[in-house]
């Protein structure tokens, strides 16, 4: 009767908290099913079943913290169900905490030390005597994947391997690194539900099951974290976009004239927005911050993340020092980053390190939306479409251009008035785009 132990999910992990049980006692469990979410010192990770059977007993309730190696549940054939419950198996899985050398002395056919395995650790072939306590160090990853993870500061035990035998390969770490920087630039209405979604929907003839890739999986987790941990509030303004539209037109006309026979650079409204936001952040360092729990980190540089939709997720490439760039430079960089993002060719340093993000759904005709903050940033700007609308000007209704911008703000880092002032200055810059070029 396989016992489920608190796994060791990272080198530094001493104990773990069962944050949620995703299976209930009596549930049928297949190998690889997510049993629970385990919170470690580093992250919350899924715990996958290593054995099939029936979840007979939950020993450690959600919210409880136990040392690694402790029995937290029992999977059996179901016969043990309702058999009086009995005392929880008291013995801890000693080898889980023991030195790997001790476990490697075990014969190969000894019960595998990991009766469950972190979702994040690759499945071991049954013939491999898995070293106890080595759940993290025994992560199978290609050398290239390891070196990318090292450079990106990514914990490999949080990455699911898709290579042979669960080996983590470059594609996996790149997806994980991308997703760990992914924001909730999707509309909040569409934010993924927590993984503890009630199972009242299941795959069948009418419902297709689509496996989550790493980008989608990590996106989901990060968005949930952001929405759960950062108290969001939203501030919206309508921008009179006449000047923005005409500035763009005249800049593009100028660039076309300069280019002669060559293909001219063309800037977009979004490039002007990036420039205006960067300029406004320079003037409002209190917005260019990260909340870390016990302090605020105020960024001295302005790095703007620009959300790019991928077919299977989101990625936020970074325009570094955007406040020091010309609009043309911003335009060229954004175009290049977005193209390579879609081609999956971004390097981790190109999608990490932003201090503020922008999500623009204007090209889809969206008037207005709210975005989920990209942690650890303190705010994100959601930009709607530039449209012709009746506006009141000098007491008369005339046809003008408007654009709605909504700032999502982490209330732990910023207050309403601060956000409003920033947005007022940003609006002024957007309404006088030439000032950002000065």
């Amino acid at each position: 009767m396989p016992e489920v132990f608190m796994p060791r999910l990272s080198d530094t992990m001493q104990e773990g908290t069962v944050s949620t049980w995703t299976k209930n006692v009596g549930d049928r469990v297949e190998k690889g099913d997510v049993l629970a979410e385990i919170e470690t010192d580093k992250a919350t990770m899924e715990l996958e079943a290593y054995d099939a059977g029936v979840l007979e007993r939950i020993v450690v309730d959600a919210g409880k913290t136990v040392p690694i190696g402790e029995v937290i549940a029992v999977i059996g054939d179901g016969i043990g169900l309702g058999a009086g419950g009995g005392a929880a198996p008291a013995k801890a899985k000693k080898s889980a905490a023991a030195a790997p050398a001790a476990a490697s002395a075990q014969p190969a056919q000894a019960p595998a030390p990991d009766s469950v395995q972190a979702a994040t650790a690759p499945p071991q072939p049954a013939s491999t005597p898995a070293a106890g306590g080595a759940a993290a160090t025994a992560v199978k990853a290609s050398p290239l994947a390891r070196s990318i993870a090292r450079d990106a500061g990514l914990d490999l035990s949080t990455v699911r391997g898709s290579g042979p035998g669960g080996r983590i390969v470059r594609a996996d770490v790149e997806a994980a690194a991308a997703a760990s920087r992914t924001t909730g630039s999707a509309a909040t209405a569409a934010r993924p539900a927590a993984s503890a979604l009630p199972a009242d929907v299941s795959a069948g003839p009418d419902v297709e099951e689509v496996r989550l890739n790493n980008v989608r999986r990590i996106t989901a987790r990060r968005l949930v974290e952001s929405m759960q941990q950062a108290p969001h509030f939203y501030v919206t303004r309508v921008v009179d976009a006449d000047a923005l539209v005409s500035a763009r037109a005249s800049i593009n006309a100028g660039l076309a004239a300069l280019a002669g026979d060559a293909t001219p650079t063309k800037i977009s409204v979004n490039d002007l927005v990036v420039k205006a936001v960067a300029t406004a952040l320079r003037a409002h360092p209190e917005v260019n911050v990260a909340y870390t729990g016990d302090k605020l980190l105020r960024h001295r540089r302005v790095h703007i993340g620009v959300a790019v939709a991928l077919p299977d997720g989101l990625i936020v490439p970074v325009i570094r020092d955007a406040d020091t760039l010309t609009v043309t430079q911003i335009s060229t960089q954004t175009r290049d980053l977005a193209a390579r993002a879609r081609a999956g060719k971004l390097t981790p340093d190109e999608f990490t390190g932003s201090t503020f993000s922008i999500s623009n759904l204007g090209m889809f005709g969206v008037d207005q939306f709210t975005a989920v903050i990209n942690p650890p940033e303190a705010a994100i700007l959601a930009v709607g479409a530039t449209k012709q609308e009746p506006v009141v000007r000098d007491g008369a209704i005339v046809v003008g251009h408007t654009m709605r911008v909504t700032l999502s703000v982490d209330h732990r880092a910023l207050d309403g008035a601060t956000a409003a002032k920033f947005l007022a200055d940003l609006t002024a810059l957007l309404e006088n785009p030439l000032a950002t070029l000065a």
Binding site: S142, P143, L144, A145, R146, S147, S162, G163, P164, R167, V169, R170, A171, D172
Partner: protein, 331 residues
Amino acid sequence: MAIITYRQALHDTLRSELLRDPDVFLLGEEIGVFEGSYKITAGLLTEFGPERVRDTPIAEEGFVGAAIGAAMLGLRPVVEIMTINFSILAMDQIVNHAAKIHTMFGGQSKVPMVIRTPGGGGQQLAATHSQNLEVWYAHVPGLKVVVPATPADAKGLLAASIRDDDPVMFIEHLALYNTKGEVPDGDYVTEIGKAAVMKEGSDITIVSYSRMAAVALDVAKRLEEDEGISAEVVDLRSLRPLDRETILASVRKTNKAVVLEEDWLSYGVGAEIAATIQEGAFDYLDAPVRRVAAAEIPLPYSKPLELAALPDATALVKVIHETLDATRFHG
């Protein structure tokens, strides 16, 4: 730039080297009157006479030893051993004498000689006449071992080998003699010890040499056209010295490598390449280095069995696919 066969390139280079340097002479079994078992020396006896194109008895150890002596005394002998399988008879002369005289005797004498000999299977010559023994020689310091895959390299490397002051095992391939390719005109010398990137690519590196390099190039071209797989083909050209940098540079770019070799798998050339890659590009590998090599049996005479035992394009394609799949190449 003319398009000629590998055989013609070898013949023309021998002839031009005989013309260029009066110290160069040829010796071997059946190379004169019979014009060579594979006709590499056709017409040379008539043109240069028996002093410079010498037929020898069937005595490999004897004529290789004679060549070593001639080389020590200032000539530049080019020995033909009918096939590499017979070079085993001269192993002591090659390994214990040619390779060591220069260093054992304090550099008093160089041994500027070339041993030309074809290897390879696929001709239904059965187990004792179909071997790929190049790695035996590549193992020995003091020798140089070149393995040209193309007519151009046959020319450039043969010229370089004849002009080199060290003993060079110049290993041809029976199945390459009739292959054609562009060969530069005039005096054309290819530096020994430099691998060639036959085709650039970004997705996977195929390391190979001799006939298998030609197979690798065909496979790479086909994969590019049919499947959009961009394979880089590195032709080693020289097994000793081995151009590790070119191999490593390629793997650092593609992150994956497959070795295609006609010798046996265990202790073969591929083992050295795989070791080189893991030592020099460990952090760049996204998949284990795979080797496609001959089955570890004496090569059968039967054509179907011989074909089954030798590595080929199909086997290479399979391993390339497996390697790419292991890195989720297709997503």
